[in-house]
């Protein structure tokens, strides 16, 4: 069964451990500028929101790629970039509605979340469990459980 990253912005403190872990996993250095997950801050830090690729089932990036460089990891369902095939044309960055696939000027290829082959390092690094890796067909489970608690308190 595939799993998905589940992000709960309410728990995020904006520490960027996820960005550090992501860049280390993929580049071997600590460099948030090269992280495939990004934390955005709003209103003087009142909200910190991590955001990354949701691994669309019918992926715009995959369909837009003229050289079939976006592949599907059979084990995780992640859409991954085959760096040997990628020509850096950036058509995928235009196609993606979420902005989660981006050009890397150092490699000349595009970067996106690949779910770290099933062991996402952002999840490992997050100190507050704002990012978890859960069954893909039950990403709403925690919200549903909270709603159930509300229903219970009403009885």
């Amino acid at each position: 069964m595939f799993r998905s990253l589940l992000i709960d912005p309410e728990k995020c403190t904006g520490c960027l451990q996820c960005e550090l872990a992501c860049s280390f996993e993929h580049e071997g250095v600590f460099n948030p500028a090269r992280s495939r997950i990004k934390v955005f801050e709003f209103e003087h830090g009142r909200r910190s929101v991590p955001y990354t690729c949701t691994q669309c089932d019918e992926a715009w990036c995959l369909n837009a790629c003229p050289v079939a460089a976006i592949e599907i990891d059979a084990a995780t369902g992640a859409k991954t970039v085959n760096e040997l095939s990628c020509v850096g044309c950036k058509a995928c960055t235009v196609a993606c509605p979420f902005g989660t696939i981006n050009f890397n000027p150092v490699s000349g290829k595009v970067d996106k979340c690949d779910l770290c082959a099933g062991n996402p390092q952002c999840v490992e690094a997050c100190p507050t469990a704002a990012i978890t890796y859960v069954d893909a067909d039950w990403t709403g489970m925690e919200k549903m459980r909270q709603s159930a608690t509300l229903a219970l308190s009403g009885t």
Partner: protein, 609 residues
Amino acid sequence: MAWQGKILSVDLSAGTVATEPLNMEWAHDFLGERGLGTKYLIENMDPAADALSPENALVFATGPLTGTMASTSGRYAVITKGPLTDAIACSNSGGKFGAELKFAGYDLLLIKGRASEPVYLLIEDGEVQILSAGDIWGTTVWHTEEWLKSHHQNPSIKVASIGVAGERGVRYAAIVNDLHRAAGRSGVGAVMGSKNLKAIAVRGTRGVTVKDPKRFMAEVASTNRLLAENKGRAGLTKYGTNAMMDVMQEFGGLPTRNFKEVQFEGYDKVDAKAMHRVGRDGHRNLITNKACFGCTIACGRIAHIHKDHFTIINRKEYWHASGGLEYETAFAFGPVVGVDDIDACTFAGYMMNEHGMDPISFGVTLAAAMELFELGLITSEETDGIELRFGNAEALTVMAEKTGKYEGFGEVLALGAKRLCEKYGRPELAMVVKGQEFAGYDSRAMPGMGLGYATSNRGACHLKHDTFAEDMADQSASGKAVPCKESQDRTALVDSTGLCLFTTSSWGMEEFSQLLDAACEGEWTVDRVLVVGERVWNLERQFNLAAGLSAADDTLPPRMLSDPVPSGVAAGRVNELDKMLPEYYDARGWTDSGEPTSETLSRLGLGTV
């Protein structure tokens, strides 16, 4: 590895910038951040120079662990000669600016001279420009940061800047980064202003590497686990540092009404619990907690003010959340000025961040002014009609804003407590050491704190030593000198790594040594890092001696030395500095006149300054 191996040298008088190799010999001796920055300062200016003259240098220094995945790796320090103390100033800050500077490829930024017109520095990886600040001079920190991101069309830029307070030379002006993190103490912002330097905007996309990545990640995992499982850390995460207010109230060390008292009847209206309390209209002061770069503690507070509060009722521009109270701001806007209005305290905090000022020095300066007012030495004619009485929340918020904008009586409060009390002929009412205001601990109840205040190289400070456990256990003068000295050295080491002092809730020297050893070239044993800490402390002392300070400056205000503490656990006590200081000099290997002996200097590998 760990260090980027480069510094950026900026001569504002000549309008030139140069990238130079980091002096690795100095890096091995002084590590980074506080220690390395002090070495670069001493080598680039005469300690006797006027702090606000072009001859002073201004150093922004990261540590070898800044920007790595070690928890709390966002720290950088500003090192310069301070205009509040005329001694070494070393103020560190979190947020994201420090790591960004490192990612731009620099360990350290060395700024000399004075620009002929207001400028800001734009650093984009290796590309550096000195640009006109004509459009932002005279504006706030908050506006400056927004303007720079918008003007350069890059929301990822990180900014450290000054407000009008720094431009106009408020003696305790701060340098603020990321809207509400600050290199707060000792007036480093006034030095930046004296150089006509409004801001440093930086974007870095280069990574930081470490010596042994696999081992480093294992050390990160184990040290993060120590933090995760530690109760002290959990308290910081939930309540922030303001949990300390209840402790100090109970103990009788909470500075109240300019340190005349040590317990404050209104403490529970401005403490951590008050920040959590849901009040009128369902309003709660605290919104959430907030981490600096890389930090798994997240002690920062994000708060907001009730919309009907007198400070903002007609000022929509402050109806948003921003940095909230931590212990030092809560003490400085609460008990020490006798104010128990949490919204007023929060607003005063906004003013400090927006205009760039040190809340501790502002609060204790205002407390001295209030005492002078109540003695009839300052009149309401001078204070623009404001009754500067203890407990007057409006006096706090109006004066915070006036000082930040350098208007009216704010120009007098801008002097700091020492110069203000001298102006009115009552120097003994200034609660300062070496001209820097006390932090939120009455030292009569905490003798180790008193010794720490008296001997801190940057003037009164609670962050340069840690004798908390000793002070809680025993309020006599005995047994404080050695723990004070040893904790000063440990603190100097931590401040030189690029990590935050608050990790010491869970980590000892062993953890710092392991992280450094995995990240930095060379061998970093516990013994070696301890020597680095002691070397840094002595180098700062050498700076101060060369600047003209002496043992006579290692003292405390008369209120601490002569007036018995009125209540609490230590009721009746005064600071017996004369008992502690000789023991301390001896533990340091200094002469009776507080100078490092030649044996001490040679043991630490230090030359003469």
